[in-house]
Amino acid sequence: MVRSTIFRGSQQNMATIVSVIAAIAIISTFQIINPSFLSPQGRISLVYAMSYFLIAACGLTMVIMMGSFDFSVVSLLKLAALICVLYIDDIGLLVIPLALLVCTGFGFINGLLFARFKVPSFLATLGMSLVAEGLALYLSKGFLYMITNRTFRALSVTFIGGLPSIFYWGLGVWAVSIFVAFYTPFGRHLYAIGGNPTAASLCGVDVVKTRINAFMLSGFLAGLAGVLYMAQFGGGSIEMGADMSIPLFASVVAGGTSLAGGTGGPHRTLLGVILITWTQAGMSMLAMGNDRQLVIFALIAIGMSVLTTNRKSASIVK
């Protein structure tokens, strides 16, 4: 009897356990191949690789929890980063609220298209991502820009306790996301809509408003990630973060938030982000080519999905 209880419990936490084991396995593999992986310098690289990513992934998790997709996250991140670099000399630090406002606005349109006009979310956000991409290209004309404003850069690269400040931004956003998901009615409503939208509506959840809010939140966090990304790198062009979209989705799924919606949550996403970004950073430290990296990401994402899906309760998957 005791054994069966433990077994039941472990099944529920299967996703978490698998992620932890995978993360430990990957970290130790890299540490063995490359002894400087976890050295102070290595740690800083790892933290730089994961922090902005974590912020964007938290926003995306909220949308995926709700059973929807947001393909515009990466484009909005780029747009926000470019707005910062392009206008910082004209309006100073006001670029930050400007970038956040623009991205939240894009999120609002995403939500409106999906929730009000019933455009499937992957189509709406894919469309809006092209709009954002086009706008970014129009504004930047494809050139590379550098930032000289020290205050702006200090947002991400001030060192506290041996680690850059962007790391604390990431952790903070992560913690707030967890709080929102578990302790607020908004978070509860996201899970409700992901689990059973009809029932949610009958229980008094404003499905349209909640959906729009979730997309706005995702847009806002993509913008915040973009601002901090620019502060971290100090420059960039439209080319930056080109193939980040797949790793981003992979990190959410690898953490254990099902694309079907209603399960998982931002608490899971941290592990997924560590898994994905540290693998990426580790492979880059070993000077592995982009081609092999892509294949490995895809395999991790699919593999984690296979390992973490609870096939007993999952019905037919489409």
């Binding site: 009897m1 005791v2 069966s4 209880t5 039941r8 578990f182 302790y183 607020t184 009615p185 908004f186 509860r188 409503h189 899970y191 409700a192 689990g195 059973n196 009809t198 029932a199 949610a200 509506s201 009958l202 229980c203 008094g204 959840v205 404003d206 499905v207 349209v208 209603g262 399960t263 309760s313």
Partner: protein
Amino acid sequence: MKDNVPIIELKNVSKTFGGVVRALDSVSIAIYKNEVVGVVGENGAGKSTLMKILAGVFPPDSGEWYYTGQKLTFPKNPKEAVERGVAIVYQEKGVVPALKVYQYLFLGHEDKYSEFFRLKTNEMKKYADEMLKEFHIDCDIENFMYELSPSTQKMIEIAKAILSLRLEYGSDNTASVVILDEPTAPLTVEERQDLFNYILKMKKATSFVLVSHIMHEVLEFTDRVYVLRDGKLVAHYNLSEDKITENDLFKAIVGKEFVEELHATQTGRNVGDEVVLVAKNLTKKGSYYDVSFELRKGECIGIFGPAGSGKSEIIKTIAGILHFDKGVLAVKGEEAKSGELPHVRLTKGVGYFCGRTEEQLFFNWSVRKNISIVNMEKILRKPLPVINFNTEKQVTEKIMQKFRIKTPSVDTDCQSLSGGNKQKLSVGRWFERRPDILLLEDPTIGIDVGAREDIYEAVLEMKNEGVSMVLVSDDPKEYSTLCDKIIFMKSGRVEKVLNALEFKEAIVT
């Protein structure tokens, strides 16, 4: 007439779930040739578990399986069960609406009718046609499943079960068992009669196990009845020898006396003067026309009529699930426009409860979350929009006690509850919320008498405290138990309005 050796006999079957809930405790049943065996009991009594063991969904923890006197192991999956002569027709609709009748009949057995990847369609059609004729099912093999009435669909489902037995188990062997899990739940009164006449004819071809909550059906159409309570076999009646009334059966199932009748005398009381809901010339083209009524505080109005009379559409319109084309709907003096969503109606005080729990509950959520989603206001740390988990737990425990919901804890997954407990949970959260107007659609569909009583009690308690209600149901008895006023609908129009007493007389005669 009866063979002395049963086709299938289960001995001392026990099953425990999750180390806590004992679903079956040493239950033995036997099924003989050409008979209909009833299995009754409250939800959670272990009926479904027993049926699932028979159908090979999962094996029991202990027990023995005899097939015509021979001891065999338990079937490990439904296919193995079919190969041993047991097929099941589930309560939830298993039909595929987009298939034609003959395609659906052979679904899953195409391998028996194919050569080199090509289906032998003509032979399939011929066989299907013969089956429809043999069982006198009134439809054509080229009909699509969605074109058929619910009762015909159910008959086709049963025919499909028999066909699968014939294909996988042996064509002439009548030593087989078809399990019918609440076959009449989605059907109207007339359709139910049809279905049973059909089942009685089919007895020649196979034996049936009938799981049902509707007692007169069980008494009228089965040969023997097994009664389960709390996982134990508490009674076994041979209906050709024992004289059993509905009340006897009720007592055996619940273990206490019948009290439903008591409620009926309460109708008409505590109805206030304040009008809380007004419908004026409400029209939805194709569904209902010119429906007008006024609902007072503490009053329960029933909308009665056959399926297709528009009653279900009216209640869904009030809930905000459907739009209306013409007319006025007002909640507490405030106009409620067509196209308002359910959550807006809820803020105005209109709650909607439906007995089909899959539309109401979040199955992958715990009991706690399912209750609190409707009562979010009560569990917040005001003025912050932050959930107080302690209050949440207290509210849940209160409702679980009140409704005697049997679960190990407030964090048990809703999915693992039995049908009756799910329904009680679903009513319970509205009980806590207390909307001004509660819409009830088929509130006790598919649940047992014990749970039904609990739900009636809770509903009447709310009504006495001033909650107004609108009821739509398939069970005339429910109207006379709960309603003060009944609106008769016929093909989308109001035919007459009766009070509770007049309704009783109208239904009896």
